[in-house]
């Protein structure tokens, strides 16, 4: 991965902000980099044209909130998933996108989607504790992985597409061989989960998984130090795993990537950047923050405060633009470079 010209996270700044009707839950850039799609606290999917912020509403695909978005490899189709358990395919560039196909994917929420690097497979995870793999082209079910005991919070393919990773509420992080449809390994990410006896609640979960472009490292993000889960008192945490270590020791995190001074935060999304560092989006009572770590250091080396609390993030194919989905009904674009003169 080539570091884009002008890339400098310490010069990050917001370049655009566009208004939506409801608080946003999710956002993704399309592979062509022309659009950003978003899901919100309603049944609509929003599409923003990056060139000028023109918004197009896509209706009829869902009954309630949209939580996850993915694309076909060529970007011609967008796929949304929601709390109605459905996945809906859209013609991404149509003047008025209509649902092309809707599939009943999970019993309860679909929390997460990811498309394989070759674009043929779509993975989903949801509240029925299942991980499912679908044919991206026609929406047919190909595989089902069902050993999670609690809600599946996140799924991610590795760069080869041979393996799929899934994480759940309790910090169970599993590696699946997709073709063989079997579990390969289970990693210990339980630092991202806690049970609070006083409040009698399970809390945390693997909110994000990201594998480095070379396939060596996996980061899993969420929260820890949840002294008051019901009151939003918890700190962001990222666990770094070495996927090349095939021993028992390799099932444990190599390092915890932490922050200081963020008493209310949770990692909603992680992305690997071109310079080999890791970018995380933290949302919580401390506000919306883009956090930056080097894999070989425990503490973040930089943080960028967003104008308000954010719940999802994506990195543009150009490696410079970052989209963030905000509670204040805005989609914001941040540029990881100096301001243009």
């Amino acid at each position: 991965m080539t570091v884009p010209e002008g890339f400098d996270v310490k010069q990050a700044h917001v370049v655009s902000e566009w208004t939506h009707d409801r608080p946003l839950n999710a956002c993704r850039f399309d592979p062509s980099g022309r659009y950003a799609f978003c899901g919100s606290e309603d049944a609509m999917v929003g599409r923003f044209l990056l060139a000028d912020g023109t918004r197009t509403l896509c209706s009829g695909g869902h009954l309630t909130w949209v939580r996850a978005i993915a694309y076909s490899k060529d970007g011609s189709q967008a796929i949304s998933a929601g709390c109605d358990g459905k996945m809906t395919w859209w013609e991404a560039a149509a003047a008025e996108p209509k649902p092309l196909r809707t599939v009943d994917a999970h019993q309860g929420w679909v929390r997460t989607l990811d498309v394989s690097p070759d674009g043929t497979l779509l993975a989903s995870g949801g509240n029925d504790n299942a991980v499912r793999v679908w044919n991206t082209a026609d929406g047919s079910l190909l595989k089902e992985f069902s050993s999670h005991l609690r809600h599946v919070y996140n799924v991610a393919f590795d760069p080869t597409g041979q393996f799929l990773f899934s994480g759940d509420l309790t910090g169970a992080l599993k590696q699946w061989d997709v073709a063989a449809a079997k579990e390969v390994r289970s990693f210990d990410a339980t630092a991202l989960h806690s049970y609070n006896g006083g409040q009698q609640v399970d809390f945390g979960g693997i909110r994000s998984i990201a594998i480095s472009p070379n396939g060596r490292w996996l980061v899993a993000g969420g929260l820890h130090k949840a002294s008051n889960p019901l009151g939003a008192v918890h700190e962001p945490l990222v666990l770094l795993f070495d996927l090349q270590n095939k021993t028992e020791e390799g099932l444990k995190p190599v390092r915890q990537l932490i922050t200081e001074g963020i008493p209310g935060g949770v990692i909603w999304r992680l992305k690997w950047l071109a310079d080999g560092s890791i970018m995380g989006l933290s949302g919580g009572s401390t506000g919306g923050l883009l956090l930056f770590w080097k894999p070989d250091a425990e503490k973040d080396y930089h943080r960028f405060a967003l104008p308000s609390l954010a719940r999802d993030m994506d990195l543009h194919p150009d490696g410079l633009q970052v989209a963030t989905a905000h509670h204040d009904r805005h989609l914001r674009i941040t540029r990881l470079a100096a301001k243009e003169a």
Binding site: E41, L63, T64, W65, C83, Q199, P229, L230, G231, A232
Partner: protein, 430 residues
């Protein structure tokens, strides 16, 4: 607090004296022997009587009405969950309660609750006593009032049981001027009352001799100095002895394994099964709680988990009571200290909201398969059928056959059973 025997007070007349009189008749005048002489026969017979019972499910922390009894899908406040049809055409509840939805024909929803109090402690006090908390007075909780008003005089079991999520147990401080006889016996995490197993080091015969000696000494003392305090003291001993003899009443492990599985193997499932057992054994009032609904953060994730537990156990409980013919004599109340804000905050949470929320009722005189009251489109205000803690308190009692407009005679002072400034909700009584 002195008991004036000459006053013929209702309190003394209705409870302790009848109880002691019965005891005396059975024992040939062993007055201080009191509770100790009752047998299981009396307990078994209660179920066949017309005794009314009450069970309260306290949804601790503030259950969201929008994720339970009054969903508003598709609105800006509705959240991500859908509404589902129930066994009663036209009534929809949250999709988080699919099993309870199948029992809707037994239930009644009060959707217009407005208590105007967003503080946990004050809200809980209001919902359990039917009155606002004031520095000038303390009022007995529903369990104490029910125990005093509904427990048969010959009952050998406590009338007021609270099953707590944890803790060791003991006695509650919830009966106010009704006195310690009606304060709750707490079953910590659903375990039998504390210290009710006779130590192995004390033989049964030795224990009986010890109790007889205590009664004689006690009787001698009471003949000269009888007060409410000594009454309560003696009662505690007698009740403790009865609890030891009837420890099995509180032992939920005696219930069939199939029922344990059906109710759910989590604590709340076990507590619901215990509540069924206690009610079947003739306990007048049982309160259990389910935690924790104070979801300022990630309200939806937490309600998925909590409602899932509640739905399974509660639906089994309602179905069982109906099937066993106990619903006509058992009032079910699902309450909370308040509801939760229609507004969804930054952290996917909902905060405290007492202006428009819901209570679920069933049994006794409560109409079946009904909804009373409504809120506006996005659930921010009551639009019809507004009720509050006071009117609901009257309603609970009248549903169970207690004239809530009456008074207790406490040392010659009339204490209204429920807030006299309000009354029962007629539409919630059939």
């Amino acid at each position: 607090m002195q008991i004036k025997y000459a006053c013929q007070s209702i309190e003394h007349g209705m409870a302790r004296r009848q109880f002691l009189g019965t005891a005396a008749a059975v024992t040939g005048g062993l007055v201080a022997g009191g509770l100790g002489v009752f047998s299981q026969r009396a307990v078994a017979g209660q179920l066949k009587s017309d005794q009314k019972r009450i069970v309260v499910f306290n949804m601790h922390g503030g259950l969201s009405q929008l994720e339970s009894w009054d969903p508003k899908p598709g609105t800006d406040t509705g959240g991500p969950f859908l509404a589902i049809p129930t066994s009663v055409p036209g009534i929809h509840i949250s999709e988080l309660l699919p099993l309870t939805a199948q029992q809707m024909h037994h239930l009644c929803l009060a959707r217009g609750v407005n208590t105007s109090e967003d503080d946990h402690g004050k809200g809980a006090y209001m919902m359990l006593t039917g009155r606002r908390q004031t520095p000038a007075a303390n009022f007995p909780q529903l369990g104490a009032v029910a125990a005093k008003s509904l427990t048969p005089s010959d009952s050998s079991l406590p009338g007021h049981i609270v099953i707590t999520p944890g803790g060791a147990g003991g006695r509650g401080n919830d009966s106010a001027y009704l006195g310690p006889m009606y304060s709750s016996v707490s079953l910590g995490n659903g375990n039998p009352p504390q210290n009710t197993a006779r130590p192995d080091t004390i033989a049964e015969a030795s224990d009986a001799a010890r109790q007889d000696f205590r009664r004689k000494i006690n009787e001698r003392f009471l003949n000269r100095r009888r007060t409410a305090v000594t009454e309560a003291f003696a009662y505690s001993f007698e009740q403790a002895e009865q609890l030891m003899r009837q420890r099995d009443v509180f032992d939920v492990t005696k219930e069939p394994a199939s029922d344990v599985e059906r109710y759910g193997t989590h604590d709340f499932g076990r507590h619901c099964l215990l509540a069924r057992r206690l009610l079947e054994q003739g306990i007048t009032f049982v309160q259990l709680s389910h935690s924790n609904y104070d979801t300022h953060n990630e309200n939806f994730n937490f309600h998925i988990e909590q409602m899932g537990e509640f739905d399974r156990s509660f639906s089994c409980f309602v179905a069982d009571l109906a099937e066993r013919g106990l619903l006509d004599s058992t009032l079910i109340v699902v309450l909370s200290e308040f509801g939760r804000t229609p507004n969804i905050n930054l952290y996917y949470g909902r905060d405290h909201w007492s202006r428009a929320w819901s209570v679920c009722l069933a049994g006794c005189r409560i109409p079946r398969g009904a909804v009373y009251g409504s809120t506006n489109e996005n659930g921010t205000e009551v639009t019809d059928g507004q009720v509050d803690h006071g009117s609901l308190f009257h309603t609970y009692l009248q549903a169970a056959g207690v004239d809530s407009t009456g008074s207790f005679d406490i040392e010659g002072r009339e204490m209204p059973i429920a807030d006299p400034s309000t009354g029962a909700v007629a539409q919630l009584l059939s």
